[in-house]
Symmetry: D2
Subunit: 407 residues, 4 copies
């Protein structure tokens, strides 16, 4: 099939085997210049080695960027204000990183005069959708090459053969082993798919998990931490001010130590299939629990309930790749409007996989009024007889119905 | 103030101090016959002692009933089909028991020719609302006496004085101590309010918890269990068929042993205030996690997402006391419609407060299709090029907007 | 491109030019047997002429069916129980007919041993999606041929040329003219697209409309009608019992006479573009207004509000082609649960495009209680002082917030 | 019953009989100073006469204010951005005026050192709730006197007797008649309740309606108007720039002439009963139809659908009295976020009760793309084959389910 003509391609380039093959393949098949873009979003691997590889492949425009602060500040933090969780279990670790990559790809395309972007996501997954819809929302005329949907190298074997034939370097992991899982990582999480996870009745081998200790091996003594919130975002841990990326890195460290944030789930992909995934999200798991606790003290009841009802849709939008859509922005406006009062501290106890809330306070914004809630005499702060009218009028519609229908 | 005239009152009677004082107070203030109703809904205390006390107070019509199976089968199970959770944390243990009590109160009123019911819930809480709205929905002409909203005995001291003055027996607990907390229990949970919980920054004393071990003291070895689902309900544990109440009792036992199901939360009451509550829901916590896992394999994506969006409202309806309302029945109809396919087994690992899903299967209804989801060559089960059209049309509206608005 | 091999195709065949060309094209391109299926769903054109045309084309298995009762009873009526309206304006006239056609196509495929179905919907519209998703939901292995997406005859000129070349008969309309609009009709509505409608600032020519009088030319005297409802469905007009299809035909007749049910809208297609459409839905417009009036008297407030909140999603599901989906069935279960009490009569005044409700009553199920609602003395049916407690507790959360935040 | 002690009361004072009696009654019963507040919100009656009456009653602090612009700009316009409509029929004319009155009452209380406000709404209606919840949200310590819930003058007869006894002047209408209906009016609408409306089967007498012509008597020739929108608000009529209140007044005038905006409905009050009300909302009816048309051209599909799903809740919040609540502000933030692009013109035809959209355009923000939507050859703007992948992946979940479940 004749290839569409492209002038220059910006490739989301990790430096690993897959995107190295794609790099060569793009050069050969499309006979065009390639710009590589490699971002540090906290995946825990060096990004600088990608430079030498790109240079070796003859690339002239090489972008290597540390996006960790932008990632947490502009993507992870807004999402956690919503208490977003997909299908009751998944903290959207992969989903939330894609719009940032898509944004930088099209920005770099504009900077370098490229008309095309490319990525290494497969044709079965959600990531292709997230990359492409977000990119098209930001720059509607961008062309996209998704090699996995075009080529014939649909097995690892064929990919290795192509690499050998075209001189693409294939490295061994330093320890000589290679994980059998398909993995993705960023500052929010690491994910595992494929291999023995393809049977949802089978528990994955304990060697799979990389970021968290097995709860059985975690410390036998609980650890307490205190988080400080300002407008719904964490600004300090144990009283020490930190930037967003510092907060998340530190919570990952502590949470991982205590075996927090493992999830083993079957999820529904946007492209229509169910898939099994395992995730480690230590910091995010702590953040979700703590944010809810901070809100429980400071947020109005109906504001909180409205957030709870909007959340599943908000989470699905992010999962499906609609970060840069008007409907996500509408929901974000509603959520952010609610967060001005979410200020204070939360104390947590971390222990062998558990995140336990043991205290929450807010000098400026607590709506907990002991004088009203007390079981002791409240000196008139609340008039119990008000409840009679409250109940009678709330029941009125049901009483009328009962009378009419002969109950 | 002159009392309204009543002919006979059915009292929700626990046999404890509060309802014993109410019993005497009703006889004195209203000069009417009282029928006592004491139910075993799994609160873990003997109900038969209530008979002797009622007889001693001169009661002629005494109802003592074991409602455990009806409670779990007709209230707890339907609620768990919805994955109901209030404000992200509360499993509605108290809320779900009230409609059953309200139902029996008005049924007994009809059987005994009583025109009035009475209960011992305070004027600040949710339970008065739940008792009364549910009762009025079922029998719109029923009169209700809520002594806590009427009388002047609004402190423990005054209550004790009244008891002493009117010869109401005040027992000591067998161990000579009395919990300083206000508690409620049934087969689904036990709750704690008041005392040191009135400061939300303070962690409750470790002696408060009664049903679960402290995770620190729980077994050092994980335990695996397998639950069997049929139409969304658990019908067997480790292959052994059990009735609904047996299932819940057994899961409480196992979960409690492993320190599962403690929650310490600030919640928003229907009457408008925030309150702090601690809950132990060992079996329910296992059930929620397992049910979600069973659904993840068998439920259609959009059915699951619709359930997630409806859930917060469904939970709020139960929390607020609207079990016997048309809107709850509408939501239940939608939820139950989805559950016919929720059949199969879930394997769980229980360990020191953690409920970990390690496997799920469904011979009849699994929608997990390995041939499609696989990372290996799928032999044509899924055509990756379909994703191109899928993405392009899903992005079309955003591309048009981008073009028009000069992005 | 080589065609996929098919053994036999069931074609949704109107007998018009487009599907006649498709019929020939299928025979030629796929070299397979074709079964024709022509349904009377109230489009107002004879279906029998399709038989002769199909026979002339050499078709051996010809299905011609009157589906009007099934269409209204099983599709239109359930939809109107929901008060479904898409984007505030569109009564889903085309959308609701597609699942029935899809259902019969796959049923006929099973009866005749065909492995494929085909239809004449274009690649830009919603109808292709509705046909195909509903068909695939009912028979997942069915093959589908959508000629408009495959062939090169993408203009009217080319189509005519193909017809001429292959001897497909091209009839003139009896009056020698042909509408310049793309139209679709069934018992619920007739629609117009294309031609001068492609500029949304331009009003269509008055000659476009076919089913309704121009309100300016409608009778100068209002007409009253009375509709009888049973469980949410109309069972009689002016006291005369009628079948569902009879009801809709009669309301179309009366409504059309009074210029009722024209709509001129810009709508959002599922495939991502905006399009302009004009619709005449005389009977449906009356039904929507009347059903809401019947519900206003008989439906509980919260049930009605829940329906209103679920409606947009329900309407979108039908618009997008998900009638036979589990999520539509869940919503239908909730809606139908609410309709048992929707019984009674509604009186309407029809006048020059207006549908005015002038009365509603329900002997069995009215929840309107004059003794409570009256502005006169109600003899104690309602205690106004109850409102004080009702307001105070509903405002409590806002008062606490105001105090804390120094308002 | 002993009255609560108050120092000074701000009374919402119309100058009519009811609030004049209340004025005297407050002076007598509470023995306190009264401040009167009379606002012109477009009810169509002179407000200055209230000054002389208040002076005659000995009032020293008299507030008479023209709030028409604030009313439309800050309350009506934001509400119409949401396309708010309660229970499918009611345009919230009364509901939206109450928060403004409540706001001014508490502001005047602060200015004059008053600790109390008072109003003339009855104990059965929604208005008491709207006044009081909004006032308490703004000033949580304000005391409220609602005479209709306190006194014994619960019939018109007793009220007249009180007036006569205390020298409260009772005027006749200029034409010597008095409407038998309970009415309320402001720039958005006029409402009617009571009298023959108390039987929902009875059509009100034609003499009831005051603002609109009977459609039968409206002009025989349609009138066209063009509305200009900027960020979702109307800024000009027929090209002539106008202020918000001018726009609404002019649309009322034109709409009333053409018999537009009558509604006769049974609605569900927040206090639990159903009531019958008739409304004339000529300008608002035009605004709702036109705003939807403007959005249909300029708003993204998913933004529009999200608005449709949020709308019923938003409308209910306003109906129930929660304008100054955090949840209304959250929804408003989401709605307003969507409106920046709602710019352009809408052309309407008004005729005997009908509001017909005949054109819409937007130079800056139209998302209608003729090159894509055309039925003619689109020169490649849209690739029809994309639809194949779109449909196949959207149907994938249903196909998998169908295969597994043996359909």
């Amino acid at each position: 099939m004749a290839r569409e003509s492209v002038n220059k391609v910006v490739l989301a380039y990790s430096g690993g085997l897959d995107t190295s093959v794609i790099l060569t393949w793009l050069q050969e098949e499309y006979d065009c210049e390639v710009v590589t873009f490699t971002a540090d979003i906290g995946q825990g691997e060096e990004v600088e080695p990608a430079r030498a590889k790109a240079e070796a492949a003859g690339i002239k425009e090489i972008y290597i960027e540390d996006l960790r602060e932008e990632f947490v500040r502009d993507f992870v933090y807004p999402m956690f204000r919503a208490n977003a969780i997909y299908e009751g279990e998944y903290l959207l670790g992969t989903s939330i990183a894609r719009p940032l990559i898509a944004k930088r790809l099209v920005e770099i395309a504009s900077e370098t005069g490229a008309d095309t972007i490319s990525h290494g996501a497969t044709g079965k997954g959600n990531d292709q959708v997230r990359f492409e819809i977000n990119a098209l929302a930001l720059r509607p005329d961008i062309k996209i090459i998704a090699p996995w949907r075009e080529w014939v190298l649909l097995s690892r074997e064929k990919l290795m053969a192509y690499a050998a034939e075209h001189g693409v370097p294939v490295e061994q992991k330093r320890d000589g082993t290679k994980s059998p899982y398909s993995m993705d990582a960023n500052l929010l999480h690491i994910s595992y798919e494929g291999y023995d996870l393809e049977d949802p009745w089978v528990e994955p081998g304990s060697g799979m998990w990389r970021w968290t200790r097995d709860p059985v091996d975690a410390p036998n003594t609980p650890q307490e931490i205190e988080l400080t919130y300002r407008a719904g975002d964490i600004t300090a841990i144990d009283g020490k001010p930190m930037s967003p990326a510092e907060v998340l890195a530190e919570l990952n460290r502590i949470g991982g130590e205590h075996g927090i944030g493992r999830a083993d789930i079957v999820e529904n992909r946007y492209v229509g299939m169910k898939s099994r995934g395992c995730y480690e999200t230590p910091g995010g798991t702590i953040m979700l629990k703590a944010h809810r606790a901070m809100e429980s003290l400071t947020l109005d009841r109906e504001a909180a309930h409205l957030k709870d009802e909007l959340m599943p849709r908000y989470a699905t939008l992010i999962y499906n790749g609609y970060w840069f859509s008007p409907e996500r922005m509408m929901l974000q406006a509603a959520i952010d409007e609610s967060q001005r009062v979410v200020n204070g501290q939360v104390r947590l106890k971390l222990y062998k996989g558990n995140v336990l809330v043991v205290g929450r306070q807010s000098d400026s914004d607590s709506l907990f009024d002991e004088s009203i809630a007390t079981f002791e005499d409240d000196a008139g702060a609340y008039d119990q007889s008000d409840a009679t009218g409250f109940i009678k009028l709330n029941a009125l519609r049901l009483r009328v119905a009962g009378r009419r229908r002969g109950r």
